[in-house]
Assembly symmetry: C2
Homo-oligomer: 565 residues x 2
């Protein structure tokens, strides 16, 4: 495996072996390592010193169910700190097939051109992208597939990334060549746009799967992992209902963000629930799918295809996070409307969480009425049109709130919270506050921890454990839902690593990787000028009680400050 270092100014590519100190890492952990080693902490995120890094997780490419995720990272224009966002699809796998441990994109181009970067066993080529400019993600993907063939992988941006919007993400083709797998959070699409890359195309023809040191041991471990995963009850839940299964669960906890985080329960939760969605899609048929895999060989298949009344696909997938932020958070109870909002966000290449939160803030400011789906759709169209209002909304919830003078901004370090109310799930509140990534449920969700979520006690421990696990999985390229399998058969993780790499990993390897990653990320954030004063939930969440639990966020700062000591 090699490091491919691309200078977008010189349009050069340097291929070198993985440095000794970067070994044993991939994905999120390797991004943190590279940022600490190579990127000035206080650099301008959209300037020449920032780097965009794509690195497959350390377990990518071995045909393990749900373990082929791609991590994308750099300094975030949204949080001004470390950023890693990961996604399914085929990007990770195809990079591994070319022997790429990390792709590092450096500098900025001169002049005004935009480019497609094509990677193949012949190296890197830059092709003019002018005909793709301004085009949505879906059309762009189709044009790329037409030009480069159906067996490519691709990471690409939409108009949001071109516009440099701080909530622009990077879309990746899924196994069916739909550009639906977004490395969504923190504005990495704007970083890619600042390097004037519309798309990265990976043609892995002639590439090969990575070697495995002990094939027999690997097969045994893989079988045990797969069985543990397939037999886990959560796997069936996610297969049948997708992540939308969380809607009822969160609502029951009083943690479903509703009308700009002013309530934790939504009266129309049934309408936006996973159960309702499943029934709807089964009834509608056509292109609708309740069960769908984003990566080759995934045995969970939590994805779906959301078809409209005519059975034609509106968006794929429709996830709980989007339902929470663009549904209940906007007072919208129509899944069709949420799906259309999601489709527009995807085609723009925007993080639907950040956009949903920004729209919630805008609604509180009076730019739309809660529940007015048509107005919400029209506001998203402002982004497509590049109006000042559209650009504002696309810049995220925090800037939107500042400009519109809304005090209720549900964000930490400039990044919007996802669909778990931190006053009602306090361990996740600790994660939002203390994660180097900014507010992000995938950095350490505690909703399944066996604690009273309303009690401030024990939340820091729960968050730390969840954060280490999450950072560990993100370093390995393991989907968090595959974690159910590793949790049920914990020794299989070390067995797999030892079989593949001849490591001496022990049972603690997941938490070790997670801890190492988090410490590196915090090191980068300190270099970037972030301090513990930014490790806080918004002041209003410590003061204003959340109906119906009447909870405020009351985990003491002093406890949170010691979380990683």
């Amino acid at each position: 495996m090699n490091i491919w270092r691309i200078n977008v100014r010189k349009q050069s590519c340097e291929i070198s072996p993985v440095p000794l100190t970067w070994e044993g890492l991939g994905g999120r952990g390797l991004i943190a390592r590279i940022l600490v080693d190579e990127v000035p902490g206080n650099c301008e995120p959209l300037g020449r010193y920032n780097k965009l890094i794509l690195t497959p997780g350390f377990l990518v490419g071995y045909g393990l169910s749900s373990c082929d995720r791609i991590s994308i990272g750099g300094k975030s224009p949204l949080t001004q700190g470390v950023k890693e966002a990961n996604a399914g699809g085929s990007t990770g796998l195809k990079l591994v097939m070319l022997g790429i441990r990390a792709l590092i994109l450096e500098d900025m181009p001169e002049g005004s051109g935009w480019w497609v970067l094509r990677l193949s066993k012949d190296g890197a080529q830059f092709h003019r992208a002018d005909e793709l400019l301004g085009k949505g993600v879906n059309e762009t993907a189709q044009l790329l597939l037409n030009k480069y063939g159906n067996s490519i992988a691709s990471a690409l941006i939409g108009p949001a990334g071109e516009m440099g919007l701080a909530s622009a993400g990077i879309q990746n083709l899924d196994k069916d060549n739909v550009p639906s797998r977004i490395a969504a959070r923190g504005g990495l699409g704007a970083v890619m746009g600042s390097k004037r890359l519309k798309a990265i195309v990976i043609d892995s023809s002639g590439g090969e799967k990575p070697p495995i040191v002990d094939w027999e041991a690997f097969k045994i471990a893989r079988k045990r992992f797969t069985e543990a995963l397939v037999n886990h009850p959560q796997t069936a839940t996610y297969r049948d209902y997708g992540t939308a299964a969380m809607a009822h669960m969160c609502n029951a906890f009083g943690a479903l963000p509703t009308r700009n985080f002013s309530s934790g329960q939504f009266e129309d939760v049934e309408e936006i629930s996973g159960e309702h969605m499943r029934n709807l899609l089964l009834e509608r048929g056509g292109e609708s799918k309740t069960t769908h895999a984003c990566m080759v060989g995934c045995s969970i298949r939590c994805s779906n295809v959301f078809g409209g009344p005519d059975g034609k696909s509106i968006v794929s997938p429709l996830e709980y996070e989007t339902i929470g932020l663009m549904g209940s958070n906007l007072g919208i109870s129509s899944l069709d409307t949420v799906a259309r909002l999601n489709q527009k966000a995807n085609d723009l290449g925007l993080d639907s969480i950040e956009l949903g939160a920004a729209l919630g803030v805008a609604a509180e400011a009076g730019l739309m009425s809660f529940g007015d789906g048509q107005r919400a759709l029209a506001l998203v169209d402002e982004i497509s049109q590049g109006t000042p209002l559209g650009r504002l909304l696309g810049s995220g919830a925090t800037i939107t709130g500042k400009v519109l003078n809304v005090q209720h901004i549900p964000a930490v370090k400039g990044q919007a919270m996802s669909a778990y109310e931190p006053r009602a799930i306090k361990g996740t509140g600790v994660t939002y506050a203390t994660s180097p990534q900014g507010a992000d449920h995938t950095s350490g969700l505690t909703i399944r921890a066996k604690i009273n979520h309303l009690d401030p006690k024990g939340q820091v421990d729960a968050s730390r454990n969840a954060q280490y696990n999450a950072a560990g999985y993100d370093t390995l390229g393991v989907c968090l839902f595959a974690g159910f399998g590793f949790a049920a058969a914990p020794d299989t993780l070390k067995d797999l690593l030892n079989a593949i790499y001849n490591q001496q990993a022990d049972l603690g390897i997941l938490q070790q990787l997670g801890k190492k990653t988090l410490l590196l990320e915090r090191e980068f954030n300190i270099k970037a000028g972030l301090t513990k004063e930014q490790d806080r939930l918004p002041e209003w969440m410590t003061l204003e009680a959340l109906p119906p639990t009447q909870a405020v966020f009351d985990v003491p700062d002093e406890e949170m400050d010691k979380i990683f000591d």
Copy 2:
């Protein structure tokens, strides 16, 4: 002298003696002390824990020329750090007449009402302000004068403060009851708006001048100070040309911000110069004045009244900073247009520096052509209308640039630079970078230091010296131009303090006060989560050469980091 502590929620007023540790301070130094002692560093600037503090400088009220300035402070919504902005006019003097060393406004009101706070020897009263809402600064001031009489002082906000815009300032009546003296920078008008105070009215009837311990010694020192000030050659320059005298000087140094800081010289500098303005105003006559005092007894009288072709006042005063930021920085060479832009900004209660910088950024983004004064005026009207674009521009240059994807943002800590290009006046660049206040020329202008402004050597020393002096004068309530008098007769400052207060001040008192103030401000900023990584000029100014000097900012970070050690 007492501390008046007003709780705007309870509408209560508590009057107490000055605490021992606050003694010997006023103005900027006292604000820093109070912030460190009472305001949580990481509080929400527009939330209930921030405080708005008004405190006259320590020399206010003694009839000294140009020494009656009012300091207003709190945590800044623009920089997220310490903020003090000071102004002339009558607010400082009348507070002293009521024996108020500091007015501390705490908490936030419940409900939705807006208020006028009236201070008199009978204490504090809250009056409903509903009929003033949405009104410009000028109309508001007139209504206040009608209601409360012509002998009041007042600090008030315009629509910008009501809207919570981060570049809203607080206007103060001048000696002629014109609300032209703005504590402009850092968004303190939004802080006042968050406490839902449209105006503070000070009726000092029955109040008295503060005591002087040694009247004879005071008279001698005052006489010597006044003579030194009156006889200083700069005093004559400021009297005749106002601050606009700087236009030619800055242009000669290649330091006149032009077209969003893309050049340091403006081809039409003559049109916007102090010399041209003087001729124009003398020619136009009517209400025009080339020489005008903002405070009672000022012997400099650097202010002016800018009359239009018909001799009717457009704005008072028209200052160099506004000319630089709204003239050359926008490519506008008509002083009439600049005056109209300034008038609109003043009536909105907006910082004209921050607004000019935001418009420059917007012009680079294509929202106006450089030089198009009509379009610039129309953009400012968007703010009056409260449109999303208007609110964006009123939120300052940094947020405007982020939303519009402009990399050339001339700001530090979120606050726009004033009209001295830091690449060409590098000592002032050091001040912009390291001042706890964010970019601000009044925190330590080095343009008169006897050094080569293009040489990176010696700039840190020059900045430190200027910053200590500025912070000292701001603590005393001394106009920076009165500093010419104290510089020519340095012993008069200690003599005055010793005569008034029976202190044992020595010749170093100015720098001692300045250093103490700066250390307190830095202490607050650390509590607020700011670090040395924010003590930097924008990255692009270290990379891109400024015509015509082709200078980049190259004072080493390591030197800047030690400036206050």
